[in-house]
C-alpha cells in the first residue's frame, strides 16, 4: 500500500512534455467543442420550448428563455391528437419491442448452436435480407394482403426481426461458455430452461442493448405509418410531430390548415415531449450499453 502511494507520488512529479500538454489542451478543446455542438441543439430546443413567441424572437441565440412561458406545453397538452399519438407510440414501442425480443432471442439462440443442421443456410438467409430488401412496393403488397393496413400491427410485424440485432445477440450467445449449457442439461434442465434460466440472465448487456435498439427504432418510426396508416387516430407520435414541424407548401401558400403556422415555441415543446420519454430511458440502459456493443461484436 505504502509502495503504491510512493509510486503514485513519483509519477505525479513526472513533468508532462510540452507536446503532451498541448495535445491535452487541444484534445479538451476539440472534444469540448464536439460535445457542445451535440448538446446545444437539445438545449436550444429546450430553451425555446419554454419561451414565449416574443422571447423567442427577441434573440437569435437561445441560451436561456428571455421570457418564460408554458404556452407551448399548454397547447400540446390540450391537444387530443398528441395523447392519442402518444398512446399509439407507447403501444407500438412496448408491444413491438416485446415481440422483437421474443423472436430475436429465440432465433439468435438457435442460430448460435453449431450442431444445428443447416444453421449456415439459415444464417445466410437472414444476412441476405440485409443486402437485398424487398423494397417499398413488395412490402406494401404483403402488408396489404395479410390485412394489416390501417392497423398498428403494420408497424410491428413487418419489422419483427432486425438482422443486425439478431447477429449481435447470436454472437453474444456464441461467446458464452458451452460448459454452462452442458452443466445445466446434466442437471436436468430443458433446452428452453437453458435459454431462459441460464443464458438470458448472463446476457443482460446484449439483451438490454438490443432492446434499446428496437425500442428506439419503434419510437422513431414514422415511415411505416405514412405507408400503412391512413387513420389520423392511429398516427404515432413521430408522425404527429412531423406534421407540426414540416411545412406543407401547397396548404401553406393557399391558406389551408397547417400546424406549421404554430410558433416555434410550440413546435419545440412538441419536440421535447417526443424525445423526453426515450431520453429518460437511456440512463437506465447505459451501464449495459457499452458492454453489449463490444461483446456482441467479437465474432463474425
Amino acid at each position: 500500500m505504502m509502495a503504491r502511494t510512493e509510486r503514485t507520488k513519483a509519477s505525479s512529479h513526472i513533468r508532462e512534455s510540452l507536446g503532451s500538454r498541448i495535445f491535452n489542451v487541444v484534445n479538451v478543446l476539440l472534444l469540448g467543442f464536439i460535445a457542445f455542438t451535440t448538446f446545444y441543439p437539445f438545449w436550444d430546443c429546450f430553451v425555446v420550448s419554454f419561451s414565449s413567441l416574443k422571447g423567442y424572437l427577441a434573440t437569435s441565440v437561445h441560451l436561456w428563455p428571455s421570457e418564460w412561458s408554458l404556452e407551448g406545453y399548454r397547447y400540446m397538452v390540450s391537444s387530443a391528437e398528441l395523447w392519442s399519438s402518444y398512446a399509439n407510440s407507447i403501444i407500438i414501442t412496448v408491444g413491438g419491442t416485446a415481440i422483437n425480443m421474443i423472436i430475436t432471442i429465440m432465433a439468435a439462440y438457435v442460430l448460435s448452436k453449431r450442431n444445428l443442421k443447416g444453421h449456415r443456410v439459415l444464417m445466410f438467409l437472414a444476412v441476405f435480407t440485409m443486402m437485398f430488401s424487398g423494397g417499398i412496393i413488395p412490402t406494401y403488397m404483403v402488408v396489404k394482403d395479410v390485412g394489416l393496413m390501417n392497423s398498428l400491427w403494420a408497424m410491428i410485424l413487418p419489422t419483427a426481426v432486425n438482422t443486425y440485432n439478431l447477429i449481435i445477440l447470436r454472437n453474444f450467445f456464441l461467446d458464452l461458455p458451452a460448459e454452462l449449457e452442458e452443466a445445466a442439461l446434466l442437471d436436468g434442465c430443458t433446452e428452453a430452461g437453458v435459454l431462459f434460466r441460464i443464458m438470458l440472465p448472463i446476457s443482460k448487456p446484449a439483451v438490454t442493448t438490443v432492446t434499446l435498439f428496437y425500442a428506439v427504432d419503434h419510437w422513431n418510426d414514422f415511415f411505416s405509418a405514412i405507408m400503412y396508416i391512413n387513420k389520423k387516430q392511429q398516427w404515432p407520435l413521430q408522425l404527429f410531430l412531423r406534421s407540426m414541424l414540416f411545412q406543407n407548401d401547397a396548404a401553406y401558400a393557399s391558406g389551408g390548415e397547417s400546424l406549421f403556422l404554430l410558433g416555434q415555441p410550440m413546435k419545440m415543446a412538441a419536440v421535447m415531449m417526443a424525445i423526453i420519454p426515450i431520453m429518460c430511458a437511456y440512463p437506465f440502459f447505459q451501464r449495459y450499453f457499452t458492454a453489449g456493443m463490444t461483446v456482441g461484436a467479437v465474432k463474425g
Partner: protein, 535 residues
C-alpha cells in the same frame, strides 16, 4: 434463489401477457373509416334492434362502397365514424363513402398504393408528375368523358378551366392546379418604418431601390444601430424555378412565368428574354448595396418570416390572404406599434409589373379501372365540384352546423365540433386539398375579423400574377425541369455574388441549360404550345 426465479418468471409472464393484451387492444381496429348512412336526419345510426336501423343497414348494404384515397388536407381534423357530412354525402348520392387521407399529403404513398395494385375507387394524386402520367398510360384510371353529360359541374370544370388536360380528347381526371387563376403573394412592408422615414409604398423599381437603401442606412427603427436591411425572401425554388426577384424580371418586361417568346415567335427560356440582363443588373446593384438579406439564397419560409418579425428586414415577399393577421400580430410581439402594408409589385419604366407565376402543379382526382361503379364515382367528383357539395363541406348542414340570418351565416360551433370542421368558421376536412384550397375558392369565414383585408390582398396579388405560356407540364419537363432549374439557380447565385459577369453568365447558362436537356424540353413545350394555340 429458486423463489426469486419463480417470481421473476411470474412477473415476466404477467408482463408479456399485458403487452400482448395492450398490443391486441391497440391494434385491433383495422377497419377503414366508414360511415353508415342514416334515414335522412343526418344522425348517426342508433342502437341495434330497431326496425329503423334494420332498414338503414339494408340500405347501406345496397349502396356501393366508394373508397377515396386522397392527399387531401392532412392538417385537418380527423374524420370520425358517424361524421354527419360524410353521411349527408352518402345519403345524397346513394353511396357508402370511405375516405382515406394519407398522412402528410404524401403523394409517394398514393403512388405506392397504385403501383402495388391497391386501387381505391377514386384516387387523388399529384398532377404533373410521372406517376399520374403512368396511371393514364397504363390504363390504371379511366376516361370520364362518358359521364360528363350527367355531371354538369364536372363537365364545366374540365371544359372551361382545364380543357388542355385532355389526353387525345379524353379527360382522365379532374385536375386542380394551385394558384391557377388567383394568387396571394405580395411584397409586405413595415408601414411604421416607411412613416418614420417619410416614405410611401414604392410603386416603381426606382422608388423600391430608394426605400430599400434608406431602410438599410437611415436607421428606420430608430434604435441608433446599423442593424437593418431592406428586403428578405425565400431562396429560389428548384421545383418551379421561381426566384425571390421575379418582380424585377417582370418589371423589366418578362411577360410569362414559365418561358418567353422571341421575336420569331419561338419559345425560349426566360433567361434568354431581353429583360434578363438589365433585370439582373438591377438585382446585382441591390445586392452590392447590401440592402438585401445576405442569407436570402438559403432562407426557407420560417427563417424569412422570423427575420421580418425580428425587425431585421423592412420588406419581405410573402404569402398573404389568411396570413395577413399572423404576419402583423407576430411582428407586434416585439414591436407593438408596428404595422404592415402591401400593394402591387413595383413597376418598371414602361409600367409593366408582375410577381407570382401562374401555378402549374396541383392534384388530379381520377376514377380507377378497378372501380365497379364508375358512374357513382363520377357523380361523387361532380358533387364535390357542385355548388351544393361545396356549400356542404364548407358550411355544413343548414339548421345543424349553421343558420342563416338574412345573408349572414351564424356558425354553430358546438355542432361543428362534433364533426370534422375546423374551428372559427373554417371548413370540413373534406373541403380542401383535393379540389380547392381556401385561396382558390376565395373562402374565408364571414366572421373572420380580417376578412376584408385578406380578400384585398388576394385581389392585389392576382393583379400581379403572371400567366404561363404553356398551361400543362410536358413529360420532359416532369423528368428534367427540376435539374434544369438547379442549373439556373447556380448561375443566378454566381451572377448575384459576382463570381461571374452577368452577360457572360447568361451565355454560359444558356449553353449548359440547353446541353443538359433544355433543348428537348423546349421542343416538347413548343409542340404543346402550338397545340394549345389551336384549341
Amino acid at each position: 434463489m429458486k423463489k426469486n426465479t419463480g417470481t421473476t418468471r411470474k412477473l415476466a409472464s404477467a408482463l408479456l401477457a399485458a403487452v400482448m393484451l395492450i398490443s391486441a387492444a391497440g391494434c385491433g381496429s383495422a377497419a377503414p373509416q366508414t360511415t353508415e348512412a342514416t334515414g335522412g336526419d343526418a344522425q348517426p345510426a342508433a342502437a341495434a334492434g330497431t326496425e329503423q336501423e334494420a332498414d338503414t343497414a339494408a340500405k347501406t348494404d345496397e349502396r356501393p362502397t366508394i373508397r377515396w384515397l386522397t392527399t387531401g388536407d392532412a392538417a385537418a381534423k380527423a374524420i370520425e365514424d358517424g361524421d354527419r357530412i360524410v353521411e349527408a354525402i352518402n345519403e345524397r348520392l346513394g353511396i357508402d363513402l370511405q375516405v382515406e387521407i394519407v398522412p402528410e399529403a404524401n403523394t409517394e404513398k398514393v403512388n405506392v398504393a397504385m403501383a402495388s395494385g391497391d386501387f381505391p375507387d377514386i384516387v387523388t394524386g399529384a398532377y404533373g408528375t410521372s406517376a399520374t402520367q403512368s396511371w393514364i398510360q397504363n390504363g390504371m384510371v379511366i376516361p370520364l368523358n362518358d359521364y360528363l353529360d350527367d355531371n354538369a359541374a364536372l363537365k364545366e370544370w374540365l371544359e372551361q378551366d382545364y380543357p388542355w388536360s385532355a389526353v387525345d380528347g379524353a379527360y382522365y381526371g379532374a385536375p386542380f392546379i394551385a394558384q391557377y387563376n388567383v394568387a396571394n403573394t405580395l411584397i409586405v412592408f413595415r408601414q411604421d418604418w416607411l412613416d418614420n422615414l417619410g416614405l410611401e409604398y414604392p410603386q416603381t423599381l426606382e422608388e423600391m431601390k430608394e426605400v430599400l437603401i434608406r431602410f438599410t442606412t437611415d436607421d428606420p427603427d430608430g434604435d441608433g444601430k446599423d442593424n437593418t436591411y431592406g428586403f428578405t425572401a425565400e431562396g429560389p425554388s428548384s421545383t418551379t424555378g421561381a426566384t425571390p426577384f421575379d418582380w424585377v424580371f417582370h418589371a423589366y418586361g418578362l411577360e410569362h412565368g414559365d418561358y418567353a417568346l422571341n421575336e420569331a415567335g419561338e419559345i425560349i427560356p426566360t433567361f434568354d428574354d431581353p429583360s434578363f440582363v438589365p433585370a439582373m443588373n438591377y438585382i446585382k446593384e441591390l445586392w452590392d448595396l447590401g440592402v438585401i438579406d445576405s442569407e436570402l439564397m438559403l432562407n426557407d419560409t420560417s427563417k424569412k418570416e422570423e427575420k421580418f418579425y425580428q425587425g431585421k428586414a423592412g420588406a419581405m415577399q410573402a404569402a398573404l390572404f389568411r396570413h395577413v393577421s399572423r404576419h402583423e400580430s407576430s411582428l407586434q410581439e416585439l414591436f407593438p406599434e408596428a404595422s404592415i402594408c402591401y400593394d402591387l409589385a413595383p413597376a418598371g419604366e414602361n409600367g409593366k409589373r408582375g410577381l407570382s407565376r401562374q401555378g402549374k402543379d396541383g392534384f388530379m382526382t381520377c376514377v380507377t379501372a378497378a372501380c365497379e361503379h364508375p358512374d357513382k364515382a363520377a357523380a361523387f367528383i361532380n358533387f364535390m365540384l357542385s355548388e351544393e357539395g361545396i356549400e356542404l363541406v364548407r358550411l355544413g348542414i343548414e339548421g345543424v352546423h349553421y343558420t342563416k340570418d338574412g345573408d349572414t351565416i351564424v356558425y354553430n360551433e358546438e355542432e361543428r365540433e362534433k364533426d370534422a370542421f375546423a374551428p372559427n368558421g373554417w371548413a370540413h376536412a373534406l373541403a380542401w386539398g383535393s379540389f380547392f384550397w381556401p385561396l382558390e375558392s376565395g373562402y374565408i369565414p364571414l366572421t373572420d375579423p380580417n376578412r376584408e383585408r385578406a380578400l384585398e390582398t388576394v385581389e392585389l396579388a392576382t393583379k400581379c400574377q403572371v400567366p404561363n405560356l404553356v398551361k400543362q407540364k410536358t413529360p420532359a419537363e416532369i423528368s428534367d425541369k427540376s435539374a434544369l432549374n438547379d442549373i439556373f439557380i447556380q448561375y443566378f447565385s454566381d451572377m448575384l455574388q459576382g463570381k461571374i459577369g452577368i452577360e457572360e453568365g447568361q451565355k454560359k447558362l444558356d449553353a449548359e441549360w440547353r446541353a443538359n436537356g433544355g433543348d428537348a424540353v423546349l421542343e416538347e413545350v413548343t409542340a404543346a404550345y402550338r397545340a394549345q394555340e389551336t384549341q
